[in-house]
Amino acid sequence: MRAEDDRKALEKERKRWEDTTLRKAVESLPERRKEFVTTSSRPLKRLYTPLDLGVKTDEERLGKPGGFPYTRGIHPTMYRGRLWTMRMFAGYGSAEDTNRRFKYLIAHGETGLSVAFDMPTLYGYDTDEPEAKGEFGTCGVAVSSLEDMRLLFRGIDVGEVSTSMTINSPASVIWAMYLVAAEERDIPMSKLRGTIQNDILKEYQAQKEWIFPPEPSMRLVVDTFEFGSKQVPQWNTISISGYHIREAGATAGQELAFTLANGMEYVRWGIDRGLQVDDFAPRLSFFFNAHNDLFEELAKYRAARRIWSREMRDTFGAKNPRSWLLRFHAQTAGVSLTAQQPEINIVRTTVQALAAVLGGTQSLHTNAYDEAYQVPNEAAARIALRTQQILAHESGVANTVDPLGGSYFLESLTDELEDEAYRYFDRIQELGGVIPAIRKGFFQQEIANSAYRYQREIEDKERVIVGVNDFVVDEQPELEPLRVSEASLKAQVERLRRIRRTRDAKKHARSLDQLRKGCEGDANTMPLILDAVRAKATLGEIIDVMRETFGVWEEPLLY
């Protein structure tokens, strides 16, 4: 009764304020707009008070940092114990070109590696295949062979540093190359730390770097869960990614909902394989976007942690608290970067990075200001890294755990995003689950609709983008161009030719034959892929075997 009385008193006091102070203020100075909305077009109230928090207690809603439901963060001390990993996504040209960039970034203080692959590699083509024409090294590094992988990490201690690799359809092959390259340097698999993105579901939904149809693709993913949990226990075998869903146009709520729905789909497939949930769930990791709207982004991360811990514990019966933790990487929003007045992208990236840090990210990539034009040049990449270092060492935001926890606005927004996610989970279920919904084009259409609405808002100037539809200047930006050299391409093609000429042809053919048989049956493909890599089969050759066995995906066409 006491709580109800308190609530009534609060409501009364609020009404009094609205009828007196507020009314007078609005009469003398009307508000700038009729409706205020977030980046995701979510309408916001003028003021949030305890009345917006619903009936749950703080203990239920927030818990303590490092405790269920982890709303306030997965560690009790957060950044007081260890700062987030500063992990800059990098890659262009050949393995040698990118190796130089890695060393440059390490020299300037980055604390983890992150590999961007070029388009042919992402689709499982070797550099010298016709499909790769014009695409070598343009938006990432080309890795066609084990030798490329060796060169990529030459002089870098992969036993110490953790490496993230943004690769999906061919993830198990690229991972096998990394494992074999480490094996040759006598670094045991058990010591390796890192992440393969390996999230095929969001490829069909958003990033579109798919090769095979969903079912064989999911089998390959679960193969890595199974293999990794036994052989490479410190490796995150998946990074369940909302980043690309958001970049393709989704709202914050859609990013949250689709990512977690995908996450739960992977868990179901793992369990269906016969794996124990606690054997693989601790190695599931996540990847979210950090967009412009500070509080909406913060709410998204907090809601994500809360939903995941609850679903893992209560729906999937995970007993190990590590299975309940939603650990995530964040990247600032590439899509928010403007080609106009590109220097101001540094400011956008700073605000976005702040959201990720206040939201409790485990690692972070900050975009460079020149990325609306090209893969970043060295100087631009360094400023992006420095942005994180300033947040970490100068801004003071890393000194206190979840400094914004308890804000009426933030907590209310967190609840709202959580509710939105559950509404989407219900709709996905009604469509028969994640894969049937992909086949029906559900996610794709939802994302396209949001992207179009956002663009119309900019077009109609309901939404101001500084330098684009307001505060415009007429000047050409001057940027230091970054070009992939012809010499790198030539060297890469020659290297591939030499490998094909000099390897043990019998061993090579046998390994691919074994792989084909494995793919046709239901063996775990990882050991077979490792053998093919050791026999110097190239990425394209291995993926060809799979393409022939599994077929290729054709997406529903819509816009």
Binding site: M119, G134, T338, Y452, L479, L557, Y559
Partner: protein, 135 residues
């Protein structure tokens, strides 16, 4: 009898391996909303696929979208093949992540206009409207 205006037909195409289709889809929708007939090719089209589709669909213009950096190889190839197939009258526009210094080279290769990030949709619509005038 009032003659019925022929609808402008546009092919929106994604050449090469690039999977970033947000921009292409937004443009396709804006052109459709502006009353044009839009055919979207989907992803991973070769220049040959695109030219074939353009001729089959009897389009007035093609919009090429590429964000992977392969535009210098793929865009001029489309124009070249169109000429070879005696369809050089089909207008070709390009869009995507394209460095400023590439723009004059693309124009020289026959790309009528290059739309960079931040281009208002109305500018893109206005360009494609000119494609109907020649018909």
């Amino acid at each position: 009898m009032i003659p019925i205006a022929k609808k402008i037909r546009v092919l929106i195409a994604k050449p090469g391996l690039d999977g970033h289709d947000r921009g292409a889809k937004v443009v396709a929708r804006a052109l459709r909303d502006a009353g044009m007939e839009v055919i979207y090719t989907g992803l991973r089209q070769t220049p040959e696929d695109i030219v074939e589709a353009a001729i089959q669909e009897d389009v007035d213009a093609i919009g090429l979208s590429c964000l992977s950096g392969a535009h210098m190889t793929l865009f001029p190839e489309v124009v070249k093949l169109l000429k070879k197939r005696k369809s050089g009258d089909i207008l070709v526009a390009g869009g995507g992540i394209i460095p400023e210094e590439d723009v004059p080279k693309l124009k020289k290769a026959g790309i009528k206009v290059v739309f960079g990030p931040g281009t208002p949709l109305r500018d893109i619509v206005a360009f494609f409207e000119t494609a109907g005038k020649g018909a």
